[in-house]
Symmetry: C2
Subunit: 430 residues, 2 copies
């Protein structure tokens, strides 16, 4: 079960196209120090001089946000959310203002906007706000004045209280995509420390290939199953608004990977887009639960009430009529889940609750899977040949995921990638 | 010549009194780390629990602003002023948000506002903006909701462009006084690392006494002549609006020093409020200038045009009809003054220009001086007895200043303070 986080989609005052506009997003490692910031400034100026209209969205520099969070926890065990947002939003203001200075020194006009100044209007959910509207007039005007526009990512302003809000993890990606949607940009480019999207993590699979293009759906499944290249909800927003995405390297040349509609990215021969893995989850099993209707609903409603994000769910019934419900969840959600699980076990008269943090999830993703039966069986077969036991299986129309022991994850990714290597080569080489 | 920097005074939407309200300002050393921030939070909560309505204005933590300025100069030799202000204003947002979190943990409601949210409206002069209006409605509403209000000092929002501005050196003092004026506070308390205003720097004169009260005029002269306890322009604003000031220690108990009108602070027996010194200035002499009308105007108009702040000016005419014009200026203004001085010397046919950075200015200040002739003579006498040569003299109705060698400054302060010790004791002890 892939959970796609929906957000109230940005309404746009005047949906217009801005031909020649590219929104460029740079993550924290791309702006890790002032030298790197200057190189980003040079990149933006080069794009402007080549005729592109440029809006850049920069994350905070390197560890700035972590440092601000550390300060917050030094003064308070549970920082007040409104103040927390005002605090951590300063990181992006710093990096964007510095980059604007560097652009001025290169002889171009630039202006950096806070989220509020850029018109990123959100709901009032501090630390995890959703964009409800993009009022891009000020950006539009600055572009008309031939300026390079910088926008502090990850933040907005609450429509109700006018307080500063932050968008939660991956928020800068969402800022960039929302602005690209509002202004009708030609593309939204996500600059990062890898040259694009790969068929598997190259640190584990040296043979992994960079993909020229993937569909929104594939990228959503890849991000949801462990690929870290883009934040899930930003891909969702891009798909909703038809914003063409491109993932590329900050400091290397290269075409990167395009992400768009299936029609746009020409995937006729494409079956498999990649193998992903995720070691951030734990598995929980509630054992010996009565097999009667409503139990699963009771379990997952209680966990949702505690704010726990559930990923894969499997329920088996044994011959004696008792069921085992297993599911995965982020390890970081275990502390919130624990008291709920104990209470549930007692209410349901379960035999026990097992918590297992030593798991990994590997997933095979490909839009072509829909029309190619047998892909899942090939994956299970590859794992079996490698002597790797599958503990939980979950599938969607374009993804197969398996839970294995954490200690098996590298061999599992290698085995599955090797089995589908020929498909990957076919896709990349046409 | 004491230059008092004027600012467009804050107009206030509804001049009202807020009985029981105290605005408390804490400088950078008072909030130097998270432990100190928590102690400030405790102090604010204690005041609230004692029945005071509290608005606090915090500076940035310790070296935060210096660090931000360092980053700016790493990316740009001359940072763009608009971006510079957006950058350096983040320091105060961080400290105030953190303090609000700490107050929440102490069981009180608190809210931190940026300069813009607090209604500090300025002109558009980036890095040295002047407050033109304080729209304190949001602070007023938060106080009505029984919240402790924190305001990021040193910053505002430009009325024309809605960009973030900063108020220049001592800006947090000005923020605090402007808010106290706008809301009609009972007092504005300046918390610092000393227990109050002293009759001389206690590091130089161990016998120096803490003053219970000084007048606005005395405090203006003391600040203008080297006392660092408060920023000059904030005292000017306080005087304009009749805001009672109090300088006190952040981490020690004590009544501190009140600053107000002569009537309020009861100074019948007061002659001398203190001896100050300043080693931040240099002396320049233009030698052998023709003694004819208009020369001085020409000299100082040219220097003003280069943005150079002139302090004391003395002109002597020798028997051969040539004049020497001497003046003091901040050492930091010498680079800007140098080319102007060389050009002037050439235009005027002067014999030469001497630049002397090794000077100090010592000043004796007291509102009672007006009605006690002979104070200046006593001061010169004390310096002569100590064998210290006076190079330049300048006076106002409540101040006498002398330029001496920098190497003589400590002995000069001690000698003058000793001569007026009995007056100081009389003032403090009644």
């Amino acid at each position: 079960m892939t959970t796609i986080e929906f957000e109230v989609v940005p309404t746009v005052e005047s949906r217009q196209r801005t031909p020649g506009l590219v929104v460029m997003k740079f993550g924290g490692t791309s702006v890790g120090d002032t030298d790197k910031l200057k190189r980003v400034a040079e990149r933006l100026v080069a794009a402007r001089e080549a005729g592109t209209k440029v809006v850049a969205v920069l994350s905070a520099m390197g560890k700035t946000t972590d440092e601000l969070i550390r300060l917050a926890h030094e003064v308070s065990p549970s920082p007040h959310p409104r103040e927390y947002d005002l605090l951590v939003s300063t990181g992006e203001r710093i990096s964007n203002a510095l980059c604007a200075m560097a652009i001025h020194d290169l002889g171009h006009e630039a202006v950096s906007f806070t989220g509020s100044q850029a018109g990123i209007v959100t709901d009032g959910s501090h630390t995890k706000a959703k964009i409800v509207e993009v009022r891009a007039q000020r950006i539009h005007d600055a572009l008309q004045e031939d300026k390079i526009v910088l926008v502090a990512g990850f933040q907005g302003v609450s429509s109700a209280t006018h307080d500063v809000t932050t968008l939660g993890r991956g928020g800068s990606d969402t800022t960039a995509v929302a602005i690209a949607a509002a202004l009708g940009a030609d593309a939204c480019e996500i600059f990062t420390d890898v040259p694009g999207v790969f068929t598997a993590d190259p640190r584990i699979v040296p043979e992994a290939l960079k993909l020229d293009a993937v569909t929104y759906e594939e990228m959503l499944e890849m991000s949801a199953s462990g690929a870290k290249v883009m934040a899930l909800r930003s891909i969702e927003v891009a798909r909703s608004y038809g914003v063409k995405l491109r993932v590329r390297s900050t400091f290397e040349a290269g075409e990167g990977t395009w992400i768009g509609e299936e029609d746009d990215v020409v995937l006729e021969k494409a079956i498999i887009s990649g193998v992903t893995h995720d070691t951030s989850e734990a598995k929980v099993s509630i054992i010996g639960v009565p097999d009667r209707p409503g139990i699963a609903a009771q379990v997952f409603r209680a966990l949702a009430g505690a704010g726990v994000n559930i990923d894969m769910i499997v329920q088996n019934v044994s011959r004696d009529g008792a069921a085992t419900i297993s599911f995965t969840l982020p390890k970081t959600d275990l502390p919130a889940a624990d008291p709920v699980l104990d209470a549930l076990a007692s209410e349901l008269g379960a035999a026990g609750v097992e918590r297992d943090p030593d798991i990994a999830k590997i997933s095979l993703i490909g839009a072509g899977m829909k029309s190619h039966p047998g892909v899942a069986a090939d994956m299970f077969d590859a794992l079996a040949e490698a002597g790797i036991n599958i503990e939980v299986i979950s599938t969607s129309s374009i993804r197969v995921s398996c839970v294995v022991r954490a200690s098996d994850v590298e061999r599992a990714v290698q085995a599955v990638h090797a089995r589908f290597q020929s498909f990957a080569e076919e896709r990349v080489n046409g």
